[in-house]
């Protein structure tokens, strides 16, 4: 079903921008005692967006463009928009459970969540570098404020400030790189870039273009938490309000990867493939080992998830390292890497929210994020412990959960590159074990250790339903991934121009 006709490329963006304004208005006209309406309004907006994304857009349709090519709706954009819509819905659901800790400014909080979501929708389908820059900044800027939103807590404000300094640094890198891309091609659209590279007929592109590309990728590396631009991740994850952390973990990473994929599918060609593959292989190595090794000694759950998210960035980079070099079916390998990234992002979104929802509920009840306080959680609340365990095991990549299939796809796409990807394949395998270790350390606390405080932690009906739904989603995505894999593969193949 296609409900927007020619305006499909801008449907979700318009809806969410208008929704954001509507939430502000609701806030304005709602008396202080009934502020829960604001959350309900925001939930309604994201629910509509969720339905519109999953059921109102054609996945396999023709590529549609608007604004003279500034906005492109192709399969990849649709897949990413669905991921973002899901993440947005979950973020609002999580935020509603967090609201009583926001003393004021609920309307602004939800407004900023929705404006970040608008930015993510835009990011997934931008067609030129100008739109890319401003959309990315819309996402990042909203997150600066959201991270600092609990302004009475110094950690929260500090998290916002750190995110801001490094986010702006990233923006400067992206902008400087964009300038060089413009210098090399004289154009600021992806199509122009592609045409320029096609005109080279397989010769390596000029050095100014490569420099620009490198700078843009480095800038985007901040957003995805790639080594060596990961320094902000642990502090911000720990300090920001938990729903924001979850949304940031998913949104920033997915938005960054959306652009990296867009850029890579544009520039990947015979002349650039080898250097790109080398670059991404090295980055994947460093990111995998840094994130997973640094996660081991952590004692704070949010910080642990921060380091682990760096590790997950490493896995996602494996998908980009599947670009080549030339081997049999190399285009398919590249496309399968991109498909794996798309699938992994969706699985990661669901898994991350599954984990953070429990973190939010737990810290709401106990006021703590320390891993030691999770001791004996399985006796205090079997549902919370089980949900968190499932989410952690999915992050670790254990069957039959979504994360397993995502990792399997990524490792498979690396294996398709043949001997070139062998080292990375082994590194990915080693990191599965490291990851499993530190996730199990938390599982151990919940199930094996005796509780310090045995008081039960009740979970209300709707929250329990949400936890069940997320767990079921992880299982379904892990056992019956077929339909989602088809969507992701078709999108990736179209983006790389691979037939069949």
């Amino acid at each position: 079903m296609d409900i927007a006709g020619p305006f499909a490329p801008v449907l979700l963006e318009t809806l969410s921008a208008c929704g954001a304004g509507a939430v502000l208005l609701v806030d304005l006209f709602t008396p202080e005692a009934r502020k829960s309406r604001v959350g309900a309004a925001s939930l309604a907006v994201t629910a509509i967006l969720f339905l519109a994304a999953w059921f109102g857009m054609e996945a396999g349709g023709e590529t549609a463009t608007l604004f003279g090519g500034s906005l492109v709706l192709d399969g990849m954009a649709v897949f990413l928009k669905r991921t973002f819509a899901t993440a947005g819905l979950l973020a609002v659901l999580a935020a509603i459970r967090y609201e009583d800790r926001l003393p004021r400014g609920r309307g602004e909080f939800h407004f900023l969540l929705l404006s970040a979501l608008t930015g993510m929708f835009l990011v997934s389908s931008v067609g030129d570098l100008m739109s890319m820059f401003v959309s990315l900044e819309l996402v990042t800027l909203s997150f600066f404020i959201l991270a600092a939103f609990r302004r009475e807590r110094p950690e929260s404000v500090e998290a916002g400030l750190k995110l801001l300094v490094l986010g702006s640094l990233a923006a400067a890198f992206v902008l400087f790189g964009t300038a060089f891309l413009y210098g090399a091609t004289g154009d600021l659209t992806f199509a122009g870039l592609r045409d320029h590279l096609a005109s080279l007929r397989g010769a390596p592109p000029s050095r100014d273009l490569l420099l620009g590309l490198l700078f843009v990728l480095l800038g985007l590396g901040f957003k995805i938490g790639m080594v060596p631009m990961q320094v902000w991740v642990p502090d911000v994850y720990q300090g920001a309000p938990a729903p924001v952390t979850a949304f940031l973990a998913v949104g920033s990473k997915a938005a960054g990867f959306a652009l990296v994929l867009r850029l890579v599918t544009t520039v990947a060609g015979p002349g650039t493939k080898d250097s790109l593959q080398l670059l991404f292989t090295a980055l994947a190595f460093a990111t995998l080992f840094y994130g997973n090794l640094a996660a081991i000694p952590q004692t704070n759950v949010k910080r642990l998830l921060g380091y682990s998210s760096i590790g997950h960035c490493g896995y996602l980079l494996m998908g980009l390292a599947a670009l080549g070099p030339a081997s049999y079916y190399d285009e398919s390998a590249a496309a399968s890497g991109a498909a794996a990234i798309l699938f992994y992002l969706l699985a990661y979104a669901l898994t991350t929210f599954g984990a953070f929802l429990v973190v939010i509920l737990f810290s709401a009840a106990t006021g703590s994020d320390e891993m030691d306080d999770y001791a004996g959680l399985s006796r205090r609340s079997p549902l919370l412990a089980a949900s968190l365990t499932v989410a952690l095991l999915s992050l670790a990549g254990v069957p039959p959960l979504a994360g397993f299939f995502g990792k399997f796809m990524l490792m498979r796409s690396v294996a398709l590159t043949g001997p070139a990807g062998f080292g990375l394949l082994v590194a990915g395998a080693v990191n599965v074990v490291i990851g499993l270790y530190y996730y199990l350390c938390l599982v151990k606390r919940m199930y094996v250790h005796p509780p310090k405080d045995a008081s039960p932690l009740p979970v209300t009906g709707p929250t329990a339903a949400l936890l069940y739904a997320l767990t079921a989603a992880l299982l379904i995505l892990g056992i019956f991934p077929g339909a989602f894999v088809t969507l992701a593969s078709d999108a990736a193949r179209a983006a790389f121009g691979v037939g069949g």
Binding site: S70, G183, D208
Partner: protein
Amino acid sequence: MEGLGFYGFGALTLLGALLMVTSRNPLHGVLWLVVSFLGLSGLFGGLGAHFLAAIQILVYAGAILVLFLFVIMLLNLRPDDVERMPTFSLRGGVGGFLVGVVGFCAVVGSVVMGTGAFAKPVAGLPPLEAGAADVAIPLFSTALLPFEVVSLLLLAAIVGSVALTKRRLP
């Protein structure tokens, strides 16, 4: 005349930037940055970007940097106060500073110098007039989407700044 403009304004820009980075008192830093941006505005003018030259002074030097001054004065910051702010500094010295600048410039410089297309004298390039009207045409046609997105961005910034700074309601 072209050479005079570039070297004069370029030196002004660079000098302002260096003095800003090394200034101990942020208040002085802001003023040096104003100097640097004035130089930059001159460079824009030299490249034919008259509209941007005006914007650079109006928005950057006029609005953004005044905002900085305003905050410094509002919080009544003394130089020592802000030194204690948490940032991710590497506690480097002059050595690190120089290595960073030299290394970075070497990379960018080698790329720039190695690209023949950029070796043309500016004076020899076809003239490019970019007054307000010239820039406005693409702004409202080909670049309409980013223009709209920027308006959302500014709205988010306003809402966010208010949410972060407004006094608690009674």
